[in-house]
Symmetry: C2
Subunit: 128 residues, 2 copies
């Protein structure tokens, strides 16, 4: 069932020569197509992997808000809030609108929020 190839290079990083070399090669080849994108995808999820930022996204899902309002919702300083907003704006998730001294943020894409809510449901299903 398990083909332990005789042509294993002893210099391999993994010392256990248990693997199916052909299978590994095939999967490496398949992965190589997506490999470039994976760091981007990881960065995408990293940005989502923070309760404060998720709160911001859910809050903006309700309504456009100024930085100060968001800061109050989060009970956080405006500087810290602004920092988080910037990171998400850079990711393309948020848009800003200047109005005098105030700056208003809103979701750029409603799809993101939908995805979040969908994932919340998946999560609940997992936990049952």
């Amino acid at each position: 069932m398990k083909k332990v190839s005789s042509q294993i290079n002893p210099d391999e990083a993994c010392k256990t020569p248990c693997f199916d070399q052909d299978k590994v090669a095939a999967i490496k080849s398949i992965l190589s197509e997506e490999e470039e994108r994976l760091p981007e995808l990881a960065a995408f999820y990293k940005l989502l992997g923070n309760t404060t930022r998720l709160k911001i996204l859910f809050a903006l899902g309700e309504s456009e808000l100024c930085v100060c309002d968001i800061a109050h919702v989060l009970e956080l300083s405006t500087a810290a809030t602004s920092h988080q907003l910037k990171s998400m704006r850079q990711q393309g998730w948020l848009r800003k609108r200047d109005d005098g001294k105030m700056v208003y943020y809103r979701l750029h894409s409603i799809n993101l929020l939908k995805a979040l809510k969908g994932d919340l449901k998946i999560l609940e299903a997992q936990l049952r």
Copy 2:
């Protein structure tokens, strides 16, 4: 347009009293319903926010694999690989199957992989 309420508590964490107190209260109330779940959701995304783990998921999307094969695909030690596998198994994403000395891992839910591939497409759309 902006209602600056007179009943602002001067002890507020945020020093700028620019906010629409009613709006903030309303949004806080709405968020409070989801607030409990948000740390879980963040943990979910944190686990996805790593290129190595994403590689594992995509690899297992192709085929069930033993730890050693996965380690070779990742070019990582079996110990490190096993650690990552454990974290994802704990999250409920993977299942393991013992077969003699070998241990095989597979995706528990195909939905996760579908979601990943969907998010990859969203990402590509964003970047255009």
